[in-house]
Amino acid sequence: MSGQPARKQAFVRELLGRSDYAIIGDIVEPGARVLDLGCGEGELLEWLAQNKGVEARGVEISGAKVQRAIARGVSVYQGDIDQGLADYPDGAFDYVILSQTLQETHRPRKVLREMLRVGRRVIVAFPNFGHWRVRLSMLVSGGAPRTKLFPYEWYESPNIHFLTVLDFEALAAVEGLVVERRYFLAGRRKVTLFPNLLAEVAVFQVSAAG
C-alpha cells in the first residue's frame, strides 16, 4: 500500500463491473493455481484463466450458477464452502479467493483456516460493516442497518456474520496470520484514511506465518 493521495491513484478500474475483482486480477500471478470459493457463475475464474493462464477451480453452492460456470468452461464443484475444502490436499493452490462471501459462511474462522491449509495465500474481500453509513443507519433507525451494501431485511439477509476492517485485522492477529496486502474501497475510490469508517469493501491478502 503506497497510500499516495495523487488523484490518478485514487481510483481503481473495474473488472467485470467490480473493483475488488480488478484488485484480485492484479494480484494473481500468471500460471498460478487458483481456487475461488463462492465463485458464482465463474466470471472471475474465466477472466483469470483467459488473461493470466491460471489453473482455475471453483466451489459454488447454487446449482444454477454452477451450471453456467461449467457451460463457460470453468471447472466448478457444486458444494458448501463450510464443508467443501476438506477433500483438497494441503497446499493444493497458490491462491484461494473468497470474494464477498466470508460474512455468509457458518464458521468463518474454520473456513479461513481451511483456506490457508489448501492455499499458500488467501485473498478475502468482504463488505465492511463498520462503514459510517451502516453505523448511521443503525443509529438513526434503531433497526438492523440497511444500506446500499447491506440492502436486505434482517430476516432475508444471506449475511450471518457481520465484520469490520478492524475485526478482520484482529482475527488475523489472533490467528497469527501475515497480512501481506490490504486494499480499501469506496465505490471505485481507494480509501487511505480511516478505512474502518470510510471503506465499503476491504480486500486482504494473508498467508500463514512462517
Binding site: E55, R57, G63, V66, Q67, R68, A69, I70, A71, R72, G73, V74, S75, V76, Y77, Q78, G79, D87, Y88, P89, A92
Partner: protein, 368 residues
Amino acid sequence: MIVEANTVRFDSISLDSGATLAPVDVAYETYGRLNASKSNAILVLHAFSGDAHAAGISHETGKPGWWDNMIGPGKAFDTNKYFMICSNVLGGCRGTTGPGSVNPAAGCPYAMSFPVITIGDMVRVQRMLIDWFGIPRLLSVTGGSMGGMQALEWAVSFPDRVVSAIPIACTTRHSAQQIAFNEVGRQAIMADPDWNNGDYYSGKPPARGLAVARMVGHITFMSDDSMREKFGRRLRGKETFGFDFDVDFEVESYLRYRGSEFVTRFDANSYLYITKAMDYFDLTNGHGSLAAAFERTEARFLVISFSSDWLYPSYQSQEIVRALRARNCDVAYVELESNYGHDAFLVDVAEQTDLIRGFLASTVEKAP
C-alpha cells in the same frame, strides 16, 4: 443423418476371470469425421440395455439412436467438431460377441458356457477398437449409468489414452441396493422354465422372466414424482376396477408394455452376464482406495448427477468427485434438478447440452 452399423473382428481377448474368448466381434457406429491428427474422437459408452446405435437414424430399422438428442450437428456432442464412436458392449446381444453368439468351437450359441465378464473386460475390448482406429488419445469418454462406469474404468485403466471423462448418473461400485435389484432381475429370468439353464436359443426364450426383470428395472429408472405425474392411480381404459387380475392401472399397463417390448430386442442371458459385470465393478479393486485408483489419472472430469435419481444417487457421484479432488484433479460437478429419476440422463437434454458443450470446448482449448 442415416447411419450404418459396422462390425470388426478381433482374434481374442484374455478376460479378468482368466478365460480367453476368441474371436470377438464388436459392433460399432461412428458419427462425424476423424480429423487428421486424430485428436477429436469421443467414445460414447452405452447403458445396460443400450447398443451401438447412439445417434442418427438407423439405415436398418429407421429408428433414432438412444442418445440422438445429444449427438449430432450442433448438438451437445457436435458431430461438426467431434468424431463420435459407440460400440455394443462385450456380453451384449446387439452385434458384439455375447452369450447368444455362436461359439465356433462348439458350433452352437455359448449360452451359459460364455465366460463371466467384467466392466474392465468391456473396456479392454473398446480399447482394441480405438487402437484399430489408430486413435492415440480420446478427447473424451462419456456415458450414463453403466456407461459412466465404463468411462471411469477408462480413466483409471488407460490414463494416458483419455483427455477427459464425463461420467453421468453412475457410481464407482454398486451398493447393496443396486446389487439387490439386479439379483431380482436375474432370479426372475432363471425362475422362468423357458430359461432352461440358459439353453433356449433353439426354442422359446424366457420372455416372461425377462419381462418381469425389465419391469423391475423400469421402476428403478423413475422417481416417485415422475410416476405420480405420469400415471397416478389412473385406470387403463375403464371407469371402475375389473375385480380380476387383468390390467387395472395405467402403471401396470406401462410396465407390461415395457416388459414385452424389451423381450423383442434383448437376450435374457445377456441380462444375466451384464448385470453381473455391473455388480462386480469396483473401481477400488486392486488399488486399495478410490484416491489411489485415480493416482495416474490425468483426465479432466465433468461429473453429473440428478436430484431425483435414487438408483444412482448423487452421493455416489460425489464420492467420485471427492476422490478426484483429493488427488487435486481437474473436476467439475453439478447435481441437476430433475423429476425424472435415473431416466433423467436420457431425458434432460437442454441442461446437459450447455454443460457438455462448454466442458468439451474448454477441454479442446486446454489440450496440449
